[in-house]
Symmetry: C2
C-alpha cells in the first residue's frame, strides 16, 4: 500500500483567522508539572479542569472575516480548531507520551492521545456557543490558552462530528474519573 | 477587543503524515454540480452520500509515523483531519456560500457551513475505526477523496469532541432529510 500521494503535495500553510481571549494563561501540563506526587498532581489538574470547564472565553475573529460567521448563531455548538502556540516546536517530533504526563499511565503513540505535542499541532474542541456579537463568539469550557491563534470555526454537525456509543480504553476512563468528568457513554 | 496576538504569530506550516486511499475520486459537489434541477441534484447527492457512508477506506500513515499510532486500536472512533487537495486554492477567499451549492438554501458565512472552501481548508471527520494493520487504519464512512493528505489522527474522546443535544438550523435539517441521514438528536 502506497503512502505517497499521486501528485506533489500541496503547500499547506495556515493563516490565523482570529485569537482566543481566555482567563487560562498556561497549558494544563504546566499546572500539574514538576515533581509533584501523583495525588497532588491529580488535585492540581482537577482544579485546572474545573476552571476551564466553567470558564467563558471569547473567540475574537479578525474583522476581515466577520462576514464568514453569518449564521453560526443558529447552531448550539461550534468546533474550534486552534494552534497551541506555547508548545515548543521541537515537541512536534515526539513519538510517544505518558498521557497527561502521568507515569502511572501506559506509554502511548501521540496519535492515540490528545497531547498538544503532535506533528501538526492543531487542537480541536467542541464547545457550546453562548452568543455571537459581530466578530466575537462567546463560548464555554474551551481549553485553549489566552492568545492561541484560531485556525477555523465550524458548526458542530452530529452526523459528521459525533459518534454513537464511543469506546475508549481504561487509561482514558481513569483520566476522566480523576478529573471528575462525567461521561455517561463510558459508564 | 483586540484580535491581534500578544506575540508574533508562529509559523503554521503543515506536513502530511499520510494519505487517504478511497474509492471516492471526486468531491461531492462535483457529483451534484452543473445545471441539474434541484430534484436531480438531490438524487445525485443522495447516491454519493450512500456510497461514502458504506465505503471502507484506508488511512495509510507514513511508515516513519507508524509508532505514533500505538494504542489507537483501543478506541472505537477516530477523528481524522485532512486537506481537501482538489479544491482550488483561490476558493480559500470565498466568504459566503449556498450550503451544498443549493440555491434553495440561504446564503451563509463559510464558518457556518461545512464547505471545504475555507480560509484554512482543514476538514474534520469522526469515523468508526474498524482495524489497525501496522501503519494502516481501516475506517468506515469517511468523506475524503482518494489521495487527500492526512494532517492528524486523534482518538474520539466524548468530553472534548462530543456535544449534548446539539441544535442545528432548519436548512441543515433539510440537507440531512434530503440525504436520508437519520439524526435522532435533531428529531
Amino acid at each position: 500500500m502506497n503512502h505517497k500521494p499521486d501528485a506533489p503535495w500541496p503547500e499547506m500553510r495556515l493563516s490565523p483567522v482570529g485569537v482566543v481571549r481566555s482567563g487560562i494563561t498556561s497549558p494544563m501540563l504546566a499546572a500539574g508539572d514538576g515533581d509533584l506526587e501523583l495525588q497532588e498532581k491529580n488535585e492540581a489538574m482537577r482544579e485546572y479542569h474545573e476552571k476551564v470547564e466553567d470558564g467563558i472565553c471569547e473567540l475574537v475573529i479578525h474583522p476581515d472575516f466577520a462576514e464568514l460567521l453569518e449564521g453560526i448563531e443558529d447552531f448550539s455548538h461550534v468546533m474550534v480548531l486552534y494552534w497551541p502556540h506555547l508548545i515548543d516546536p521541537s515537541k512536534r517530533r515526539l513519538r510517544k507520551v505518558h498521557p497527561m504526563g502521568r507515569k502511572d499511565l501506559p506509554l502511548r503513540g501521540i496519535f492515540s492521545t490528545c497531547s498538544p505535542a503532535r506533528p501538526n499541532p492543531i487542537l480541536v474542541s467542541v464547545v457550546p456557543l453562548l452568543e455571537r456579537d459581530g466578530n466575537i463568539l462567546r463560548v464555554k469550557g474551551l481549553e485553549a490558552v489566552d492568545g492561541s491563534p484560531i485556525i477555523d470555526i465550524k458548526p458542530f454537525v452530529e452526523p459528521s462530528h459525533g459518534a454513537k456509543d464511543p469506546k475508549v480504553p481504561e487509561w482514558m476512563k481513569r483520566i476522566h474519573r480523576d478529573l471528575g468528568i462525567d461521561t455517561p457513554a463510558e459508564a
